[in-house]
Symmetry: C2
Subunit: 392 residues, 2 copies
């Protein structure tokens, strides 16, 4: 099937169980799919844009209400939609970071956090993860002191991942934020793997900012995301424009420079809104997701030599695994080499791991049914048995 | 019909002739609509992302080829997709503008160009339009000299609208760029109303950058757009990351900080790609669009007191009109006041002008058939006659 312009219709999630680490939380709901069809056109949410002419003031469709709900849901004071979590990072970095300023990230931070620091002219300093691949409050305090010695002043901002993208481990954001606040450092909670997946209470976490990803974890089209802030920080990052035309004396009302005015004008925003009721509901049932994850993890751990690199027991469905002493031993002798695993999985209707990977790889069980989890568990064990690996 | 979450299905372009000034060029093609359905999911274009892991290197779907085609089509050396034209402005401003630097815009510039200047810390200086609401090379030279007197140095960047958003007038970008280049000022051609609407040859225009809007003029979902650059400027605005993790010594390959890494990961990009063959074709037939526009303009001008504020004869379908001495005289006595006009149009199946506007307003005839243009002409004259206005 073709969409025109040499583009094959994508039918990944229709035809297979998709365990891609970054795709699991972004699959559209049926409501989002309907919204996507109705709001495909550019500027389709602008039909009823009236003064003061800003996206988050539009009431039909109920965009203003959605913004209020988003902030409330994250227990923050203000929220804006952004074209991806990274654009939230960019807006915050650009507000607080000047050339040469040190900024805290972590040794598990996503590259987009580094780019946000770089783009603002800042210098990234990583809080090292501990031996369990988690960022601790103690390590944060030590790093702040180290930065103070190096720069003669503390970091101006801290990007802390609520759940990191490499191991899917949960960081104790509350304790970390507590330490950062003792040094007056604003804390951005990167919730790309939590907002829309599990409950996030920004105030309880002590976050100055909560950033979420629509296409990663809120069942929304790309690029979409949310940037929420406390009232104090909202006044800074969502400050309104002050520039004036020298000839026309034009000013630009309540547009926000860090948002570049309006942000998501059609399919991305309406898709996010349409999925929101189900997203709000699903975060309450993250325990079911963890139960499904356990079924798969148990099966993988039963294959001799397989090591779960993520914290264990799992508290998130994104998991990093080391199969160097199991599937990779098969790969060494297999005519397809490392590709044997992804090929064997595909044959059984499972997709989403990097083709060729048999040593360290990631997968995400988010959104599957228990029947699918049991099937996936069986598939992993079946492939292992078929290739002569031992099961304990 | 409902999409869920309190969102009514939008059926504006299905049920009416839409003359909204900003929506006309963004309506999806049927191919884009198919693509939107197949690529609704977040990260749906990332299935076959392989090293070096950057959006514009993906070959399935043919994203790499699309990027090459885009650059070629605009006769520029490099192109990237961005989440809206404004994000292209932001990337360029952020590359060239430091705090306190003067930046040229025009007295007809869009607010997003001002926000890009403000966000980069620059100071906007407007080239005044002439009495025909056009920006000239002479006015550009005069403004540059004025800026040099005021700041002791020239502007570091010039944002010039190929066609401005207020009057839909075409500026002589070639002559303007020629002047700017004599002062070594890079020129960004804002093609939000031309790229995807009429032929744009970046090198011929002398542009260092060409920015286009997907959702405004390329029949693509929002937010989407293109930033194209000459080879010299591409090396600057698309420079790759140099930041490094101090603990992990991680570096981030060929990701581009001004793009924040990858930009459009799903429905927005694939929609843009799916429409592209038709967009490339339609720009060759802009004369047909102008012929349709003429039919409507002639009808409006036949209504006594109506003045076309845009340059005349029209060279673009976006048109600004003054009906203070025609429709507004009706509004003064009508029980619906200014709303009589939009209501009367809606009754005849025409939507898209600001409700209540009867003095100065804008409309866009882009994309209509000749039959629709003739019908629209008839509707305007019919409403005028019905309300006792004279027709000449």
């Amino acid at each position: 099937m073709r969409c025109g312009a040499g583009i094959d219709a994508r039918q990944v999630d229709e035809l297979a169980i998709n365990i891609d680490p970054i795709q699991a939380g972004g699959r559209l709901t049926a409501d989002a799919m309907k919204a996507v069809i109705a709001y495909g056109d550019g500027y389709s949410v602008c039909d009823n844009c009236r003064k003061p002419n800003r996206l988050d003031y539009i009431t039909k469709p109920p965009i203003a209400e959605f913004h209020r709900d988003l902030a409330l849901w994250l227990n923050m004071d203000s929220a804006r939609v952004v074209p991806g979590a990274r654009r939230g990072f960019q807006a915050v970095a650009h507000t607080y970071v000047n050339k040469g300023d040190p900024v805290l990230v972590t040794s598990l931070s996503h590259y987009t956090e580094f780019l946000a620091v770089e783009d603002a002219g800042g210098i990234a300093r990583e809080i090292p993860a501990d031996e369990h691949h988690r960022i601790t409050a103690d390590a944060t305090a030590a790093k702040i002191e180290e930065v103070k010695r190096e720069f003669g002043r503390g970091p101006v901002l801290a990007f802390i991942d609520h759940v990191d993208y490499q191991y899917g481990n949960i960081n104790d954001l509350k304790s970390i934020a507590n330490v950062a606040h003792q040094y007056d450092i604003p804390v951005l909670c990167n919730g790309a793997y939590t907002v829309g997946i599990m409950p996030v209470d920004g105030k309880d976490l002590g976050a100055d900012f909560v950033v979420g990803s629509g296409h990663k974890s809120m069942a929304a089209p790309a690029p979409s995301g949310v940037l929420a802030a406390t009232a104090e920080r909202a006044a800074e990052v969502f400050r309104t424009t002050t520039i004036e035309g020298d000839v026309t004396k034009r000013r630009f009302g309540i547009k926000e420079p860090e948002m570049m005015g309006c942000t998501l004008m059609g399919v991305t925003l309406v898709g996010m809104m349409a999925s929101f009721p189900q997203v709000k509901e699903r975060v309450k049932h993250f325990d079911r997701e963890l139960a499904n994850n356990r079924i798969v993890i148990q099966a993988l751990r039963s294959i001799d030599g397989t090591i779960v690199l993520s914290e264990y027991p799992r508290k998130h469905t994104l998991t990093r695994i080391d199969t160097t002493a199991s599937f990779d031993t098969v790969a060494k002798a297999h005519k397809k080499r490392g590709f044997f695993l992804s090929a064997a999985l595909a044959e059984k209707g499972v997709v989403g791991i990097i083709p060729g990977a048999t040593r360290v790889w990631k997968f995400n069980t988010y959104g599957m049914t228990t029947v699918q989890a049991e099937y996936l568990a069986q598939v992993f064990v079946g492939i292992a048995v078929e290739h002569g690996l031992k099961i304990s």
